[in-house]
Amino acid sequence: MEPGEIHALLGENGAGKSTLMNVLYGLLQPDEGEIVIDGQPRRIDTPAAAIAAGIGMVHQHFMLIDVFTVAENVMLGEEQVRSRALGWLDRRKANAAVKRISERYGLRVDPEAVVEELPVGVQQRVEIIKALRRDADLLILDEPTAVLTPGETEELLGVMRSLAEAGKSIVFITHKLKEVQAIADRVTVIRRGKVVGTTAPDVGEDELASMMVGRAVRLTVDKQPASPGAPVLEISGLRMVDDRGHRVVDGVDLVVRAGEVLGIAGVQGNGQSELVEAIMGLRPALSGSIRLDGQELLGRSTRQVLHGGVAYVPEDRSHDGIVRDFSVAENLVLDVFDQPPYASGLVLRPAEIRKAATQRIAEFDVRTSSADALVATLSGGNQQKVIVARELSRPVKLLVASQPTRGLDVGSMEFIHARVVDERDRGTAVLLVATELDEVFGLADRIAVMYRGRILGIVPPDTPRERVGLLMAGITEESEAPGGAA
């Protein structure tokens, strides 16, 4: 690593990127080998030692105290005090310090804002400021864009550039090829714990991808034009409020037909999650109706919806999709464990559960040591395959997939996309929610853009991306140019 360099560390899930960086930050100890900083071999056995050596880390999962202000979070660990004996905190000094750093590197943030009220992108800036406050010369950003909207990602890349100009070195961990090409000075690709190679970032996406995965990959989704049939899912006049009573879904009308993929594009937090939860019977609606093959779904239990022919891939995989401390086999029957052949009456039949699991593991290419391994030991991509395998094992009329490839590596992403297209071709109606435009454009046959709880427009996938991008920001053509040609 050189000063002022942005070095991308590219690799699939489970390739060893995060482990390497955790070693560098003193969270894990190396079995052998050494770390050399400024020509000196250093022993980094705690995060404190890493900070002293000028290394700062921004974790994928933020380490912030939600109810503290930005400045309080930044000074955490080395609090500014007005009087040493009494321990009065000097908030003004802390605020000033935050302001100084944020102005110097273009990290816009209000020092007095409470962290939990800030959007994810701004919280991330707080993390970066925290590292800079401790005079880090080498910043490690662990998958920083995984949680960001396209706009926020752009801003982050800008911040990284200005940091690099100021002489800071940045290790940028990611598996998104576009970002690598946009910003990195050099790229190191890691596969299965070994460095595959270090190159300049302009070698081309396909080549980087094949270095990552170890074989050629298709980055675009192969699919035939859709042949939509009868409407399967009909949503009309749906209105919902969130936990705090804010109106989050405000009069949504949508139709998804058999054999087509309807993609909902939108920046996260515009009501997509709630809409999906309403379909699945996980959240009540104020008014409106949701019909599956003409039958009202509102008011039904999640179980009735699932067994009525809806497959559901939830947005938050580890939170809602799997039971981490259950085995792969148990996770595969989480929805049908009490039905034959997996149970007779009150009695589970482990042999049947295992047999079915072995079949699914083969069919969906789940990489696991056995059906009895805990799901927690699988990589993210394989956990997602377990969920998809479970959901597609029931008879399915409608597949609701929320961010189905978020945080997944290229290989798993490819697999999941292929399965979604497969389902569509079999005549299933697919409702896809995604924040990544690539995914929406790659998979959807029609794209509905959602903004502040409303559908602003439904467009075909050959619409220019800029137009969809504008819709996602709430700008319709009418409001942009009143009376303009449609």
Binding site: N13, T19, G193, V305, R324, E330, L346, V347, S379
Partner: protein, 430 residues
């Protein structure tokens, strides 16, 4: 990759690696065994925690023993006196604890020689089992709720309700032999289950935290019992103090070895309950649902399970088991209701469950250990003049060491287990 359990195969067609050959299976076993002993697995930590508690308990015995303290005053002129006094104090205490709970070798020898009747030799074991039965029930109650993701602090109150229900049937109804016992036991389980239903229902309907509600319900149950035993028709005729009528003989748990030993059917029922709980958790659909809800209620809900129904069911089963604990207490050693009839088995059940680490078999072993401590305490007080409260201190120390495994690991310098939770948590960036 942080550990060997994450299996990552090449992304291409999966190559099957040749199975690893094990040339020295026997040596492999020995080294595995050594590894198991020196790494921080649950079993090792539990055993060492008990050992540490006994050591610390010994220190407490030493500093509170007058003879030992007397020898300390001339320690430097005759240290051997101090050491032998320490040995006497600690050895006497723990010896009595052992003799009162497992076997008294002297009595055993006398029985062999025909000087005392045989049952005397088995008296300590009988006492241990008698004390263990209710503890196993309440321990299982806490364990079951724990597996469903709830902390049932209310086993005490549920046991009280179980004892009340069993008592009302035991002295209120007069039924034929066998039938009377069955009805009394079923009533006890039902009483506890009903009292467990309340916090379960409150949690499911209103989200009220079960820890708060069960603690409050414990007070209500305790006061209900105090009120009940002095009511006419319940209070024993001719008595002014708080004690109920005696339970009919037909409703008592039969003694397993005749009149001479106290051990009764309760311990058998407790073992059967443990097997039933193990079966319920591992092999039944209800147990599957219960474990899924306990580990991740959100995923359970998303997969179509009814989380609130599961909470209610789990608390009813848990309460039923605690009720059986109270029943075993009443229809076994107590035989009549008094305000102290439960003897704290509900709260001890929490410690038993903690020591048993959420597993039915572990809970049985922990229940037997605490039963032995309770049985031995009496002998220790009589023989070594150590108050029975010493046993409470030992129990508390064991649980503290179990709850703070890092402490045990540090003291014995155990190696960190591979794939420890911490490392997994930090490697989330996969």
């Amino acid at each position: 990759m942080t550990d060997g359990s994450v299996v990552e195969q090449p992304a291409g067609p999966a190559t099957t690696e040749p199975p690893e050959s094990a040339p020295h299976p026997r040596r492999r076993f020995a080294s595995d065994f050594a590894e198991a002993l020196t790494t921080a697995n649950a079993g090792t930590v539990t055993v060492l925690a008990i050992l540490l508690a006994l050591l610390l308990g010994a220190a407490i015995i030493v500093v509170s023993d007058e003879n030992v303290l007397a020898t300390f005053q001339y320690f430097f002129s005759r240290p051997s006196d101090a050491f032998s006094a320490i040995w006497d104090a600690v050895g006497g205490a723990y010896g009595a604890l052992f003799k009162g709970s497992i076997v008294d070798v002297e009595t055993f020898g006398q029985a062999l020689a025909g000087e005392v009747p045989w049952h005397r030799a088995f008296d300590p074991i009988s006492e241990t089992l008698t004390n263990a039965a209710p503890l196993i029930f309440t321990g299982l109650a806490v364990t079951l709720a724990f597996r469903a993701g709830m902390f049932n602090i209310g086993a005490e109150g549920q046991a009280v309700l179980g004892a009340i229900a069993a008592g009302l049937v035991g002295f209120g109804l007069h039924l034929p032999v066998v039938l009377h016992l069955v009805v009394a036991v079923v009533a006890g389980a039902a009483g506890g289950a009903l009292y467990g239903f309340v916090p379960g229902w409150l949690k499911a309907r209103t989200g009220a935290h079960e820890v708060i509600t069960t603690i409050m319900l414990n007070y209500i149950a305790a006061k209900l019992l105090v009120w009940l035993v002095i009511q006419e028709g319940v209070q024993r005729p001719g008595r002014q103090d708080a004690i109920s009528k005696l339970v009919d003989n037909t409703a008592l748990l039969p003694q397993l070895a005749g009149e001479v030993l106290r051990v009764n059917l309760g311990i058998v029922l407790a073992m059967v309950a443990a097997i039933a709980v193990a079966w319920l958790l591992q092999r039944s659909t209800l147990g599957f649902e219960l474990r899924a809800v306990g580990l991740n209620p959100d995923a359970a809900r998303t997969a179509g399970m009814s989380v609130s129904k599961t909470y209610v069911m789990a608390m009813m089963f848990s309460g039923g088991l605690a009720g059986l604990g109270g029943t075993a207490m009443l229809l076994g050693p107590a035989q009549s209701l008094t305000p102290a009839v439960i003897g704290g088995i509900g709260f001890d059940g929490i410690t038993v469950a903690l020591l048993g680490r959420g597993k039915p078999l572990g809970t049985v072993l922990a229940g037997l250990l605490f039963g032995a401590l309770r049985a031995g305490a009496v002998r220790m007080q009589g023989e070594a003049d150590i108050p029975v409260d010493m046993v409470s201190i030992l129990q508390a120390l064991i649980v503290i060491f179990i709850a703070a495994p890092a402490l045990v690991k540090a003291v014995f310098r155990l190696r960190e287990q591979r794939a420890a939770g911490l490392q997994q948590a930090l490697a989330k960036g996969w």
